[in-house]
């Protein structure tokens, strides 16, 4: 009861094509996350699903029925916005119940749903306050509560955590994960935070310039990126890209290796460089090597490690973890 299908969706604002043909199937109960750089059309795509924006072409199906002429309130969706978007003149209770009131649900039923949602999100103490009297985290919980109350087939989140501070972000992220488990509802979630994407998603959709680059589970994207863009976008610190001509490694244009798959050895290895900068993160140490024409390479080492700045070290790549890309930037998959 909450599947979503996008079929060749396009969207232009005047001359500018923002979404250039997106096809996607989301199963019932799935948690799908859209990631991509700023301005790639994530929010636009979400607004098209919600019906807040008309697509220039293609069709949106929710639960198997085409919804292009259905207004947002009748699509069985609920949306949580980055800026909370609570009604400033209404109390928390009224904020949560407005949608059901508009849909003419009986009062007892509304009260029951508000009760359920406020218990789930521990909002009971605040029900009679106005949004201005709440902290940022509480406001976002109210916004999530407002979505839960509607019992939607499909939850849409547009960067719901990006206005919260780091600690609150982790808490609210756990809350959303719990919500998904308990409600079993389908969720589509936009973020540009990798950690959110990797930890919450059943599947991640990587968007770039209005097109889907790759769709897959977090581990598929990490272990088997389809192209340079996805390889560089997923993982932090970013994957190192080295022109293959600087290495003696066969028939590719570009070689990619993640910082965590490089070890530093006294001699030999794949490439040598000068230590140019070291970042100590406690659990890890990031070492940046200046490898001349091959560019700057980052190696992520476990634990606390020390190197002399400007000393020369040798980097050894984990052979099973080396990615190879062709002239078009597509991954060359090992034929094993």
């Amino acid at each position: 009861m909450g599947s979503l299908a996008l079929k060749n969706i396009t969207k232009s604002f005047g001359q500018v094509d923002v979404i250039k043909g997106v096809d996607l199937q989301v199963q019932d109960g799935e948690f799908v996350i859209f990631v991509g750089p700023s301005g790639c059309g994530k929010s636009t795509l979400l607004r098209i699903i919600a019906g807040l924006e008309d697509a220039s072409g293609g069709s949106v199906e929710i639960d198997g029925s085409e919804v292009s002429s259905t207004p947002p309130s009748k699509r069985g969706i609920a949306m949580v916005f980055q800026t909370y978007a609570l009604y400033p003149h209404l109390t928390v209770r009224d904020n949560m119940s407005l949608g059901l009131k508009q849909a003419k649900h009986p009062a007892a039923h509304i009260a029951e749903r508000v009760d359920f949602a406020s218990k789930m999100l521990s909002l009971e103490p605040y029900l009679d306050r106005r949004p201005a009297e709440l902290s940022g985290g509480q406001r976002q919980r109210v916004a999530i509560g407002r979505a839960v109350v509607r019992k939607p087939k499909l939850f849409l989140f547009d960067e719901p955590l990006s206005n919260l501070d780091a600690a609150l972000r982790v808490n609210t992220r756990l809350e959303i994960a719990r919500l998904h488990r308990e409600l079993g509802a389908t969720m589509v979630y936009v973020t540009h935070d990798q950690t959110e994407a990797m930890t919450l998603a059943d599947r991640i959709v990587v968007l770039n310039g209005g097109k889907i680059e790759q769709v897959g589970t977090p581990m598929e994207l990490y272990n088997d990126p389809a192209n340079l863009f996805v390889a560089g976008f997923i993982g932090s610190p970013q994957m190192n890209f080295i022109e293959a001509s600087h290495l003696s490694r066969g028939d590719a244009r570009t070689i990619g290796i993640r910082p965590e798959h490089i070890s530093l050895v006294p001699s030999g290895g794949d490439i040598s460089g000068r230590v140019s900068h070291i970042e100590h993160l406690g659990a890890d140490t990031n070492v940046y090597l200046d490898c001349g024409a091959a560019g700057l390479i980052c190696a992520r080492l476990f634990g606390e490690q020390n190197f002399e700045i400007d000393s020369t070290v040798h980097a050894k790549f984990d052979d099973n973890r080396v990615f190879r890309f062709d002239d078009q930037g597509q991954a060359i998959r090992q034929t094993s």
């Binding site: 607004r47 919600a50 807040l52 207004p71 947002p72 309130s73 009748k74 969706i77 609920a78 949306m79 916005f81 980055q82 800026t83 909370y84 978007a85 609570l86 009604y87 400033p88 003149h89 407005l98 949608g99 508009q102 849909a103 407002r146 509607r150 547009d158």
Partner: protein, 279 residues
């Protein structure tokens, strides 16, 4: 920087400048009001003195109030101002919402067209307006004044309000749409309350020229039944004799209603002017 801003010398200087300006601005009003309470002789002999036991006289007010139509003039002015104000705010806000919220062909052209009225004074069209009013039989009706003033106030209202409405969060309006609010509910319940300070600003700037206008009442509605207060006060200014007591009393009285309306809006107005500066 912050110490400089709070230094007493600077603060005294700022207050001195503001106080000087206030005195200059209020002086004519002050002179009108004090002279309204003086006898005719005292008005000419000692125009700048406060009324005292000798010179105090209410003869001006008596004349004005005895002149039976005066209440009617008041009422006319009040009706014209309030109804025009209401129409300017309502239609101005609606047009501003459409311009700010919906993407349609010719949106920015329409906005420009509506704002053009700010630069072109409506009085240039007086002859054409008079012809139109005569043709539609609206001469000597309050309706004619209301229509003209609504047209006069709309450009600035649309211009200012659309700017403010663009700042209202899209997310909020979209949340309303998802909750099933109609566009009208979104406009009246979500957007209007958030631009209330801007509405008050527009209200004050619209109201005062309407209340003070002499031109259009003189041309479009000079009949006894439709005279406004500014026009009514003219009856005391004759070609040969002017009843200064009555003129000053009438003007003093005319200040009151605008003052009251202004006080109603001013709390909002201050927030309107400083909004954006302080979030």
């Amino acid at each position: 920087m912050s110490t400089a801003r709070h230094s007493p010398v600077r603060s005294i200087a700022a207050h001195a400048v503001l106080a000087t300006y206030t005195i200059i601005a209020l002086f004519p009003v002050f002179v009108i009001v004090i002279n309204a309470f003086k006898s005719r002789k005292a008005i000419f002999r000692t125009p700048l003195e406060l009324p005292n036991a000798d010179t105090f006289s209410l003869v001006g007010f008596e004349t004005v109030l005895k002149q039976g139509d005066f209440l009617l003039y008041f009422q006319n002015s009040f009706i014209v101002t309030v109804v025009s104000l209401f129409m300017v705010l309502l239609f101005g806000a609606m047009a501003a919402f459409a311009l700010a919220e919906y993407r349609f062909k010719g949106n920015s052209l329409m906005g420009l067209y509506l704002a053009l009225g700010i630069m072109i004074p409506i009085r240039l069209g007086t002859v054409a307006i008079l012809q139109m009013m005569a043709a539609s039989g609206l001469v000597n009706t309050l309706t004619s004044l209301i229509l003209v003033y609504t047209a006069q106030g709309l450009p600035l209202a649309v211009f200012i309000l659309s700017e403010f409405m663009r700042q209202v969060s899209d997310d909020l309006k979209n949340a309303g749409r998802i909750d099933g609010l109609s566009e009208y509910r979104i406009f009246f319940r979500l957007v209007l309350p958030l631009v209330r300070p801007a509405m008050a600003t527009v209200a004050v700037f619209t109201m005062i020229p309407i209340w003070n206008d002499l031109w259009f009442p003189l041309i479009l509605a000079p009949a006894e039944a439709t005279k406004t207060i500014t026009l009514g006060a003219q009856v005391f200014i004759g070609q040969f004799v002017t009843n200064w007591n009555a003129v000053l009393a009438a003007l003093s009285l005319a200040i009151l209603p605008v003052l009251i309306l202004y006080l109603i809006f001013s709390r909002q107005l201050i927030r309107g002017i400083t909004s954006g500066a302080v979030k």
